[in-house]
Amino acid sequence: MLILTCPCCGQTGEETEFHAGGEAHLKRYGPGSSDIEFEGYMFMRENPKGVHFERWRHVYGCGKWFHAARCTMTLEVFGTYPAQTLSPPQELRDKISEKRPGWSWRDFA
């Protein structure tokens, strides 16, 4: 079970109070993009054993979207951060590096 702390309202709850929103930091390719770009946006996802970044929504709470970093193997939650960003904050990346030295996820490390 995941214990998540919503960065918008500060409440800590377990995962059934939230709703998973899929992989984080996807760049949308819409009309006018190439088939390859659209395919990547539509279908290509990370499937890591270990560090992963996801979008979550505090569906039974404040209703806001946010980001979470967690380990898919141990379910450890490294941290949560606001939705209004294109990449995980450096502070969180450093924290993950302490716990999972040498981790990488897409272009982040």
Binding site: C8, C9, G10, Q11, G13, T16, Y60, G61
Partner: protein, 189 residues
């Protein structure tokens, strides 16, 4: 005009480890806006005489209160009969500042769960840390009760106010009764 009634007609249940009582009609106004803006603060505090609640808290007294719902949402409590007048005052206070105040009284139901077992009843139904060190007076929490959304706070010791959608009032009442069955104490607190 037809007579307004609460969802379950003020039903009371006393046959368990806590008592469950559906409160009479309660005025509830949802405010959306920037909770730090002057207009919103003036509208909310002026309507109730309460101070603005900090994140995750509620300032309530009797049927009046201000509850922090989210970074851009506030729940204003007032007497049911005063809603129209309070709304007028709030809209005047908001003026042309960005914000929204709407009467949601009839969209909601309000329960009071009281007694020694109240904490246990709530803890069985919501995925919330109810240890006294984590949840107490003045705090306001939105979460779920089993399968439906609910918000709750403690206005007095051993007593919770629980707000849910009116259409789910019977479900919530039944839940509270089931969780409050005699002999079902877990005695965890």
């Amino acid at each position: 005009m037809s007579k307004a009634v609460s969802a379950l007609g003020g039903v009371t249940w006393t046959d368990g480890i806590a008592t469950v009582h559906e409160a009479p009609l309660q005025g509830m106004i949802t405010v959306r806006g920037d909770l730090t803006s002057k207009g919103v603060i003036k509208a909310a505090t002026g309507a109730t005489g309460m101070q603005m609640p900090a994140q995750g808290t509620a300032n309530c007294n009797g049927t009046k209160g201000l509850c922090w719902m989210s970074p851009d949402e506030l729940l204003v409590l007032c007497a049911y009969g005063d809603v129209a007048q309070v709304l007028d005052g709030m809209r005047a206070a908001l003026g042309d500042q960005h914000g929204l105040a709407v009467d949601v009284s009839d969209a909601r139901a309000l329960f009071r769960v009281a007694g020694k077992g109240a904490l246990e009843v709530m803890a069985k139904l919501a995925p919330v840390d109810f240890r006294p060190s984590a949840f107490g007076h003045g705090m306001f929490r939105r979460s779920r009760l089993a399968q439906v959304p609910a918000a709750f706070w403690m206005q007095e010791d051993d007593a919770f106010h629980v707000v849910c959608f009116r259409s789910q009032a019977q479900y919530v009442f039944d839940l509270l009764k089931a969780a409050g069955q005699k002999g079902s104490e877990v005695s965890i607190f």
